[in-house]
Structure formats: C-alpha cells, structure tokens
C-alpha cells in the first residue's frame, strides 16, 4: 500500500505549492496612499453623473468647484476656481470672475468658458444630480441663455427667482458643479453627447490628483497632478482597492497592506482599538437615519400614535450598543452643521407615556404593522431593537427584509407601513433636507416628484409654503429661525421618527496623518496626507 501513501503525499505537496513561495509584502510604498473601500456602487466618474458616496469622494480629490467651504464651519464660503462673485440688485443674477493663471491637469488654461460649459453640459445631459442645478429654473432649452460667458474670465448665471444666495453657492460645491476641461471633453464629443461616453471612464479636471484608471469593482488609481494650483500633495499616488468585506479590510490594515480601511463594522472597530499600530478617526456626516410612517395606514395616520411611537425607540441604547460610535442621537431633519439645525432631542424611551398616548388614540392594546428593512446587518439590528421596544406598548411589528433596491421600490410606491431610511443631504444648504422632509407640493398618487413627505403620504400645504418662503429668504439669521420652527413642528406631529446622525469612522495605520473627514463625501480629502517612516 506504500504506493498510495506516496501518491497521496505527492498530491498534498503539489496542493500546497503556493504556501512555500513568496512571503507577503508587509508595507505600502511611502509615497502611495492605499485605501480599502467597498467601491461596487460606482457607476461613473463624470461629474455630471456621479451621485454615489465613493465616486463623490474621488471627484472631490481630483476636480475643483467654483466655490468651496471650510469643512469645520460650512458658513465660511470661499472661491476655488472663482476669484469673486457679485449678486445683482434683484438677486437673480450672479456674476463670477475666474482666478487667473490656473490650469487643468491637461495643461489647458482655465477660463470662464470652462465653468459655463460644465454647467450647460450637466443641465443638458440631465443625469441623476442635474436637479441640483435645474431647481434654479435652468433647463436644456434655456441654459445657453441663462448661463452666459461675458468675458475671458467672467460669466453670468441667471436664476428664475431670487433664492437665498447661499443656496446657489452650496449647490455649486456639489460634484455636479465641478468644473471640467472644456477643450479636452469637447475633443471627445460624439454625436453631440458632450463627451459623456468618454468622460464616464476618463478624467478632465484640475484637482490635486488625476484619475489614471478606474476598473469597475476592482481599483481606482490616482496620481499627483503636477499642474495643480494649490500646495503639491505629499503622496505621488493614491489607490482605492475594492474590498467589500469589513473583516477582510481589518486583516489588510493590521498587516500593513493598506493604509486606511473605510468599511469597518462596529465589531472590527472595537477589536482594533487595542492595536497600537492602528488608530481610529471619525467625523460627523450629514446622513440622517429615520423611520417613515406611511399615513395611508389608518393607525399610523393618527398623530397621537406617531407621537407614541417616538417614545418607543431606545435611541441611546441603539447608538451605543448596535452602532457603537457610528451614529449619534439626533431628532431633527437638519443635521448638525447645517444652517438652522435644531439640536434638541426631546424623545427617549418612555413606555408608560407611549401607552397612555395609544390609549387616548383608541389603541389601548396596540396594533400590528409591517416594517420594510434593508437586509444590511446594521439596519436589521436597529429594526429588531425597535421591534422589541414597540412590543412593550403592544405594537406588533412584522419585519420584512429585502435588498436595497427592493425596499426602495416599495417605499417609492407608498406600499409600505414603516420604512427605515437613511437620507444624505445633496449639498450643504438646509433646503436640501427641507425640500424632502417638509415639502409635498402634490400628494396625488401620480405626483411628478416623490419627496420623503410624499412617500409617507403626508399632506402638508402649510409646511410646503413655509419651506418655499425659507428658500427665498436672503437674511441668514431669519432663515435659520424659519427652519428651526419647521423642525420643531415636525418633531411634534410629523410621521418621521428621526433617530440618528451618521458618524464616519475609519481605521488608519499609525503613520498616516492629515486625512480630512468632511461633512459630505466630496469633502473627504487626502490632499494633505503624509506618511512618516
């Protein structure tokens, strides 16, 4: 029988052929920043189309907007490509002057023709983020007249109404307002597509880094832009690797194969806290976690019931034990950091109070409803915690798990009872959230726009009018008061149980300094990152 034993042994050796070769490389190159991130939602790197967190961050480091803001105090707005701007008497026209002597990565000079082309292009292509610009009354038909070049370095942007000046400026800081290299993009135009086919996988910007390569679901490779007008970044290269699994990211980080892990789960963060080679950094983000209670459901349409349910969530326990530092309790529709954000958190778990409200509403024994939840570990855990506390007052919740697209389709069709949602603002102006939480111009089933208020069938003509007035108020202090009043009212009687504001947490190798976590993903910056030996 020795034949078998020998053969088996030989087979075993051949099976383990790889194990003896090439040890793992344990350190990333000193001039290269390597990050692990779940990149599988990226569909484009064209500023006119990008709307995903991942691609927004990548564009934020490779393109430049006309204007920017201080990430620590977003009310401080300054010019980036624009040197200055003026608003006309009637408040409807902005005149921008472009900074002299700036260049794109291609070497082409930046002139007023570039931002004009970029805005016209985004409006005409009409991709997902286009509404951020078209809300100013711009359309494919009129944008050539409304956005016009008036000199080599000046252009005008005309709006249909005199909106609060900061609204336009904040909207121009969003990725859809980033300035593309007109000459380069136009040279790739095919059949009047504004270079769309080309730019969705290519680069034409002026930011600190260029995008050398994007391979979907695999890698994004960025290189220092030698024509960048600001301080030269210390890193020559920045690479994002698509690593979908948080536990895999943790292993790579501990081994030193990556510098920053971006999708660590609560458990991984806890485990890494003891590792002296790793540090954890966090920053507050604009996303809000909330529960939407559909007003088409008879029980949920009762304001006493919605208020009772706001007393039936153990906010602090969920933040501490389930989310472990990835959220903080926040109960108003404007996140911290926004003009007019209300910082009161009036609700906490109070079963007795909820029971008496339910009795008053005519539901002394509670009722049964369904809750649609995305099947991610965190949302599922939050849903289960809520199910448990609601049960204490007799409200039975049946959880219906589904993947993201499936639950969203149902939510947009208004056929849910309760939906757990996460809403991220589209730009830094309070209107972005007021527009969805406090505006519902048409509550009909075939309405053209589907804000969150519509999705929960909440008919609010008065609040809609208040939100419309607030967006036209030019005095920031008055405007802030208007938003505070709206948030207070929503805390009382809205069908939104607003629970948390998101905190982004990352794990970094100890030698990595200078990564900036901003309020939105296109503010996250590695321009100033350095690595010590």
């Amino acid at each position: 029988m020795t034949h078998f034993t020998k053969l088996v042994a030989a087979a075993m050796i051949s099976a383990t052929f790889g194990l003896t070769s090439a040890p793992a490389i344990a350190e990333t190159p000193p001039d290269t920043l390597i990050q692990a991130w779940q990149l599988d939602d990226m569909i484009s790197i064209d500023p006119a189309e990008v709307f995903e967190f991942t691609a927004s961050e990548i564009l934020g480091n490779s393109y430049q907007p006309l204007v920017g803001y201080d990430v620590n105090d977003v009310s401080d707005i300054f010019g980036v490509i624009a040197e200055k701007w003026e608003v006309s008497e009637d408040g409807k026209t902005f005149t921008f002057t472009i900074k002299p002597d700036m260049k794109f990565a291609s070497g082409n000079p930046i002139t007023a023709a570039d931002p004009v082309y970029s805005i016209q292009r985004a409006v005409k292509l009409d991709k997902s983020p286009a509404f951020i610009l078209t809300q100013f009354g711009l359309s494919a038909d009129n944008v050539d007249q409304m956005v016009r070049q008036t000199g080599d370095m000046t252009f005008e942007l005309e709006m249909d109404k005199a909106y609060a000046p900061t609204l336009l400026l904040y909207c121009l800081t969003a990725t859809v307002g980033f300035v593309v290299d007109k000459e380069l993009v136009a040279s790739h135009e095919v059949d009047g597509d504004f270079g769309y086919e080309w730019l969705k996988t290519n680069y034409a910007g002026s930011g600190p880094f260029t995008i050398r390569e994007w391979r979907a679901n695999e890698v994004v490779v960025m290189e220092r832009n030698d024509n960048y007008s600001g301080d030269t970044p210390a890193m020559a290269r920045a690479i994002y690797r698509n690593i979908p699994e948080g536990s895999t990211q943790r292993l790579l980080l501990e081994q030193g194969d990556i510098d920053i892990a971006r999708n660590l789960g609560a458990e991984e963060i806890t485990a890494l806290a003891d590792n002296p080679d790793i540090k954890i950094e966090d920053g507050i983000k604009g996303s809000i976690y909330y529960m939407g209670l559909n007003q088409k459901n008879e029980a949920l349409a009762n304001p006493l019931v919605t208020q009772a349910m706001k007393y039936l969530v153990d906010y602090q326990a969920i933040a501490d034990t389930i989310m472990k530092g990835k959220v903080k309790v926040h109960q108003a529709f404007l996140p911290e950091g926004f003009l007019g954000a209300l910082m009161d958190n009036p609700y906490s778990l109070d079963v007795e109070k909820a029971k008496s409200l339910l009795a008053e509403a005519g539901y002394p024994d509670g009722f049964t409803v369904t809750m649609d939840t995305r099947n991610t570990p965190e949302i599922t855990a939050i849903a289960e915690a809520i199910q448990q506390t609601m049960a204490q007052a007799g409200i039975t919740i049946e959880i219906i798990p589904g993947d993201g697209q499936q639950t969203l389709t149902k939510y947009r069709a208004r056929s849910h009872d309760i939906y757990i949602g996460r809403w991220g603002p589209d730009y830094q102006d309070p209107h972005t959230n007021a527009d969805t939480f406090a505006r519902n111009p048409d509550n009909g089933d075939d309405a053209a726009s589907k804000p969150l208020a519509w999705r929960n069938a909440w008919d609010i003509p008065e609040l809609t009018a208040q939100a419309d007035a607030a967006v036209l108020e030019s005095d920031p202090a008055k405007r802030a008061e208007m938003y505070q009043a709206m948030q207070k009212q929503e805390q009382e009687d809205s069908p939104f149980v607003i629970m948390f504001q998101e905190i982004e947490v990352l794990g970094l190798r100890d030698n990595v300094e200078g990564f900036i976590i901003g309020p939105s993903f296109n503010d996250n910056s590695f321009r100033n990152v350095t690595k010590t030996e």
Binding site: F4, A15, L19, A22, Q255
Partner: protein, 354 residues
C-alpha cells in the same frame, strides 16, 4: 448538483456524437438556451424592483427618470422587449451594463479570467488530492484511513467556505505570513506587465516577470487551495463509491484469482472503469467553481464572475444578470459535452459504437 453514479449513463450520453444525432444535439442546446433566457428574462422583469432606479438613483427628477425609462425600452410590451433582447444576443450583443456603463460582453471578458484562473487551480488541486484519497478510502473501507478521509471530506463539504476563508486568512496570511492577502496581485507589481489573457499566471510567465508571477501564486494559493479542498471533499466521496462498486465486481475477483498484483487491480482494472463516471463528477465540480464562488470571491476580494453577478443582482442590473447566466449556461453545456467526448476515449464500448 447531484450526479448519478450509474454507469449506464455513458452509453446514451455518447449517442449524440454520431453524425446523425449532431443535429438533434444542436436543437437540444438551442432549446436549453431559449428556456434559460426566457426564465431569466421573466424573473428579471417580475421581481419587484424598479430597474430605472439602478440607473438614475433615488433623487433624480421626473424628466431624468422618464428618459432612462425609455432608454431601457421599458415602455415597450414585454414580448417585444424579449424579442429585441433575443435578436441582440444572437448577434453577440448582450446589451449594456447599467452599473459599469460598458457592454456586458466586455465586462464578462474582464471578470471571467479571474474566476477561470482560480477555478482551474482549484479543480486541479481537488482532483489531484481527491481521487487518490477516494481510492485509498475505498481500499481501506471502514478502517482508520477511510474514517479520517470521511471526516476531513465532511468538514470540507459542510463548513461554510466563507468561514473557512476568513480562518485561512487569519492563520496563513495574518499569523504565519505564508501567503499574500486578498486580491489577485500586489499594487507594486500591478503595472509591471500588460494583461493580455487576463490570466495573471500566464501573463506574468509569458512576459518573464517572475517576481510578479511569484506574487500572483502567493495570492492564488489560499483561495485555490480552499476551493480545491471544497471540491476534493466531493470528488473523494464519489471516487470512493465508484471504486467500491468496481472492486465488488466479478472481474476483480477473477483478476485476484489469476494473481494480478493488488496495485494493478486497483490502478489499472478498477480505476479505469471508475474513471468513466468520475469524469462527469469532476467536470460538473469544475463548472460549479467556474460559476464563480460568490462567497470566496467576496472574502478574498477577487474580482471575478461571482462578485460581478451578485453585485449586478443587488443593483437590479438585469442585463448583466442575464448575460452572466447565459455564460454559466454555456459553461455547463460545454463541460457536459466535453465529458461526453472523454467517455469515448475512456470507455471502449462507447468507442466501438461511434
């Protein structure tokens, strides 16, 4: 995938190889694919997911939404949409991916080599280890080696591959540092060579980039061994039962009576006959690995077909799902045909008929 160990299968399976039956085979394959496409297409349209959302996202204005709705052809009746799809597919165009904005064919060309490389290494390991182990188990039936092989096989077949993968990374990558981590190659080597075939072992070897080649091997070793272990478990069990069936036959007794050495009885007489159904088992295991092991690819951040399909499915990118399903169908039909062809080589009875 359950495979009947019955030997009889070999006879009728080989029949289509007769010239006359070739036409019948083409028709069968065509019907199989049409069925596959109809079912996948319908599932894609019946699932309660709005495919436009995958294109434009949740925030888009009504005009953006409507433009995408028409661009996807969703305003046309279902049968018409299918007809268009069928016509395009026949001309080799599987449509565009909503997610990657590239033609599906191009996407699959990009992701499939990664899966092919991993699955091929996996099946080689699985066969080289699994077949001898199965034979050994059959020869030592009921004794210690048999029991040990059974337990080892059971663990391989029943333990979640996701968990084994993480455990393997923890031990061999994080602690012992014998292998490289997740991914196909270190960034440092990524641009040292050009990807022509997409199979990195071949690309690096052909261009003489031996450092990069070693790095690819270091990355491949753990996931390939894991997939090899997984298929080994199944192959060794099947080998054992095929061998047991053969060893109980009268011709074996006759050979023993004649005084043929035991090793010859096992390796020449019995294995030769057991090899016929074994080929199907190995071919189908290989096809299973080529589907792209979703969990393995996720744990090892392996940009292959499994990850591509899952990601497409989760984002309601139905063209990509349809295209991927078709490719998998082609693999299964192709490997089935291949194993049928191998029958003629291995089984003299089939050879005589053809």
């Amino acid at each position: 995938m359950s495979v009947s160990p019955a030997n009889e299968g070999g006879r009728w399976r080989a029949l289509p190889l007769l010239g006359l039956k070739a036409g019948k085979l083409v028709v069968t394959v065509a019907i199989t694919f049409l069925g596959l496409m109809v079912v996948t297409f319908l599932i894609g349209r019946v699932v309660p997911v709005d495919p436009v959302l995958a294109v434009v996202g949740d925030r888009a204005s009504k005009s953006t939404y409507d433009a995408a709705y028409i661009a996807l052809g969703l305003d046309k009746p279902l049968y018409y949409q299918f007809w268009i799809y069928l016509k395009q597919a026949l001309s080799g165009d599987l449509g565009m991916s909503v997610l990657t904005k590239k033609p599906i064919v191009e996407d699959i060309k990009r992701v499939f080599p990664a899966t092919l490389e991993l699955a091929t290494c996996g099946i080689i390991i699985g066969t080289l280890v699994g077949v001898p182990l199965g034979i050994w188990g059959a020869v030592r039936q009921g004794r210690l080696p048999d029991q040990v092989i059974r337990v080892v096989g059971l663990v391989g077949y029943s333990a979640p591959i996701f968990w084994l993968g993480l455990l393997g990374l923890l031990v061999f990558y994080a602690k012992l540092q014998w292998v490289a981590g997740p991914g196909r190659i270190d960034i440092a080597y990524e641009y040292n060579f050009t990807q022509t075939t997409g199979i990195l072992l071949l690309d690096t070897a052909m261009q003489g980039q031996w450092d990069a080649f070693r790095n690819v091997v270091a990355h491949l070793a753990l996931p390939a061994t894991l997939l090899g272990y997984f298929s080994m478990a199944y192959i060794s069990r099947m080998t054992r039962s095929f061998m047991l069936a053969e060893l109980g036959q009268e011709y074996i007794t006759a050979a023993r009576v004649k005084g043929v050495p035991e090793w010859r009885i096992i390796w020449v007489h019995a294995l030769r006959n057991a090899a016929v159904p074994l080929v199907t088992v190995i071919a189908l295991s290989y096809a299973g690995l080529l589907e792209g092991s979703v969990l393995t690819e996720t744990v090892f951040a392996w940009p292959g077909l499994g990850q591509y399909l899952t990601n497409s499915l989760q984002n309601a990118d139905m063209n990509a799902v349809l295209g991927g399903t078709l490719v998998i169908g082609i693999i299964f039909v192709g490997l089935n045909l291949l194993s049928d062809l191998l029958y003629t080589v291995l089984d003299p009875r089939v050879r005589r008929r053809t």
